[in-house]
Symmetry: C3
């Protein structure tokens, strides 16, 4: 379980580090963006559900992983950049995992089903949003690709099954599996969320 | 009381959704900006005064309202855009309400009068600031229109009267009323906060 | 001790107010940027280590200082702008102080050595990052100047000596002193953190 969590952080941290390299941030900026992208979603969730200090501040492995991802990306960024299609697939794994673990942690801290599913989505997409705000661009997740919807759907499925007292393996498997499949289908078919129609006033 | 609170959230969420439509965010971006604009000020306050998890995560109505406002704006944005003068008036109502309820909640959680008034202002203007940061523009509230001052003044009046053990109706009415009148006068007369004088070095 | 803390806040608040004046924010924007730059690092730390409400909301002097710095900068910004080299030196003092006090506060709240050192760095650099996000530019601290490294090094030294049960004067003096010297040397010699090498793939 922890291994999967750390793998998700590693993948998210790599995506943050790539953005930092492309904006010519220095090595420190690369590490900070790696850290905030990898851990930001969980930090946001933990602060909102009052689970502070966040787990990542109590276990040094959670800090070591984004630092490693950031340094590897800083040094080998031409290679990492070429591997980006693979990173996208791993990123879908990370998203699937985070939306489920985030939602279940919120349930554990006493939130109702709807807010818990929302916290699952926040855990999945929050790190990328912090990354985009810190690197001075509008959040990628708003630009039409189907990213938040799979996270919310997976979190909702996990919360629902957990509410019905299903075993953990089914809860996590169904939630993460649905999110993963929906996200990969969206990437392959280039599915996009609807944009506003017609000219916007002003 | 809750009805007024939800109305304020609705109006703020609509303003966030309009900004998202104008930047051509997808339907999800519209919903997220509606949610963060409607609820962001209260989240910021609750995290700072240690009232987590925020009320909005414990009561599903607080989540339903910005979703409704976001979807309505997404579909009917040409109409909503034309109604913007009315939205500005309702927004002044929302600001008046939030600055008072935010300040009184901070008093309830043990803050002194000055920080409590500040938290009232944060509740009123925080959602709009989060909206502007997420949509990649400098916060509107810094650009010269008189927006934060009415919120701070209304919050200070409410905190002061509450400190003098006045009845709730007077506390809330005087605080919100002063904020509302000052904000509407500022809109009508186009009152503006002072800008720095002279050329700025570099 | 409190005097040094307030001095650090004053210097940081002045740097925030200068940025606001140069972007032609109104007087309110100047005050908000002064406040968030002066207090933001401590707020971030306190929220993450669950020390809410932050000290600045419990002691009115912590609020008075950034307001004073903001108003002085708003009125006398041509003079303050010319004094910027001096501000840079004072800013190094503020950074040295904040990284040590931030790290020791995190230790006091039960964090392990590595996360505590990280919280010291966050206390030192967080205010400036919030300032840059609110004023719509990528964080200055990512742009190659050696700023975060001295803060992390100073915090690590303080946490290490504190772990060895050294007296407070030595802990604080060695940590803050190392940070200060390293930062000033970096300013004088224009030392820079390494940038990514080679062309970044898209």
């Amino acid at each position: 379980m922890v291994v999967l969590d750390l793998l998700g952080i590693f993948v998210f941290a790599t995506s943050g580090a790539l953005v930092a390299v492309r904006r010519h941030f220095d090595v420190f900026g690369v590490l900070v963006l790696a850290g905030t992208t990898g851990l930001g979603g969980g930090f946001l969730r933990d602060v909102l559900i009052d689970a502070t200090p966040p787990a990542a501040l109590a276990d040094w492995r959670y800090l070591l992983v984004p630092v490693t991802a950031g340094l590897l990306t800083f040094v080998f960024h031409p290679v990492v950049g070429r591997l980006e299609p693979i990173v996208t697939v791993f990123d879908a794994f990370g998203l699937s995992l985070f939306c489920v673990t985030g939602a279940l942690k919120a349930v554990e801290y006493g939130l109702g089903p709807i807010p818990a599913a929302l916290m699952g989505m926040v855990t999945g997409i929050g790190g990328g949003m912090v990354r985009d705000v810190l690197s001075g661009r509008p959040p990628d997740v708003f630009s039409g690709n189907l990213y938040a919807t799979p996270a919310l759907a997976g979190a909702a499925i996990a919360v629902g099954l957990d509410h019905l007292d299903q075993p953990f393996a089914l809860v996590a498997g169904a939630g993460a599996g649905f999110c993963l499949v929906l996200r990969l289908v969206a990437v392959v078919l280039d599915l996009r969320a609807p944009l506003p129609r017609g000219p916007s006033s002003v």
